[in-house]
């Protein structure tokens, strides 16, 4: 069994992205410190993505859609004031889906 990230949905319309951003902001306000074990089912649009897990770090909120041994990919919403480097050839690799919502891939 090899463990690498699989293809995932990262095509969202602007309304979906706006709703994800709103719900992510709520969670980031609720959890100002890193948290890796919290309930997010009330955030319908995040839950609808059927994430493997959702967690927050000091940098933002990660919605994990696929993960492997050390690899991971999904949706990332940064905290206010956190700059996101979207240059190619980085790890993690971030791509902007909207102004405040990004897809991310960690190779590890």
């Amino acid at each position: 069994m090899f463990t690498t990230a699989c293809t995932q949905q990262t095509n969202f319309d602007s309304e979906e992205l706006s709703l994800i951003e709103k719900e992510a902001s709520e969670l980031l306000s609720k959890y100002p410190e890193p948290n890796f074990d919290f309930e997010y089912s009330a955030q319908n649009n995040i839950a609808k993505l059927k994430p493997e897990s959702v967690y927050v770090t000091k940098n933002g909120l990660y919605i994990v859609l696929n993960s492997g041994f050390s690899s991971e990919s999904g949706i990332y919403v940064p905290r206010e004031g956190i700059a996101v480097n979207t240059d190619d050839g980085q790890d993690p690799l971030y791509k902007a889906l909207s102004k405040k919502v990004f897809s991310y891939e960690i190779k590890g």
């Binding site: 770090t57 041994f69 590890g108």
Partner: protein, 182 residues
């Protein structure tokens, strides 16, 4: 990703991070999962030990999480499989991470920690203290860690010190005190 001066961490920082997770209510494998997840980027990612060289906390945490439930041999096999798959999938990519010098030894260190040190009878913090002592952990300021020989930033970034690859085909940054590399 591979060891670099911008990504090193201290023993105190790792201890504080683990204590923080336990304080928040996490236990056992969940603590190690949080450790791995919190180190997806370069910040505070690499700790030097005499026994394993530079330990990548993302790999260490994941391997420990898995080994605490499925054992170290299966975990190390899965970790090796991951590197092979990553190596193959990254062919031609700007960023090549498969078989970074420290990946396999970090997986082995984490698998041993999860299998041999996390026995459920003591806290992860206590287990970590034992492991840090046995592994010969050193702060990056300790000359024996050889921090000064590391590249300044992640060498796997395109255009970086290793021209877009952190893997074993490139120069290894292995201090003389490490027993697992030459």
């Amino acid at each position: 990703m591979a060891p670099n001066r911008a990504g090193v961490t201290t023993i105190a920082s790792l201890r504080a991070e683990i204590r923080g997770y336990e304080k928040s209510g996490l236990k056992g494998a969940a603590v190690m999962s949080a450790l791995s997840r919190n180190h997806g980027g370069n910040a505070n990612r690499y700790l030097f030990t005499d026994k394993h060289g530079w330990v990548d906390l993302r790999h260490f945490g994941k391997a420990a999480e898995m080994a605490s439930s499925i054992g170290s041999v299966t975990t190390e096999t899965l970790g090796l499989g991951n590197e092979v798959a990553q190596w193959a999938a990254e062919w031609g990519d700007d960023y090549r991470s498969g078989f970074s010098p420290e990946d396999i030894s970090s997986n082995a260190a984490g698998a041993a920690f999860g299998d041999d040190y996390m026995d459920g009878s003591s806290s992860v913090s206590q287990s970590l203290d034992n492991w840090l002592n046995d592994a010969g952990a050193r702060d990056p300021s300790d000359p024996a860690a050889g921090t000064s020989s590391l590249p300044a930033t992640d060498p796997a970034v395109k255009g970086g010190a290793n021209r877009g690859s952190s893997n074993i085909s490139n120069s290894n940054h292995c201090p003389a005190t490490a027993s697992n590399c030459s």
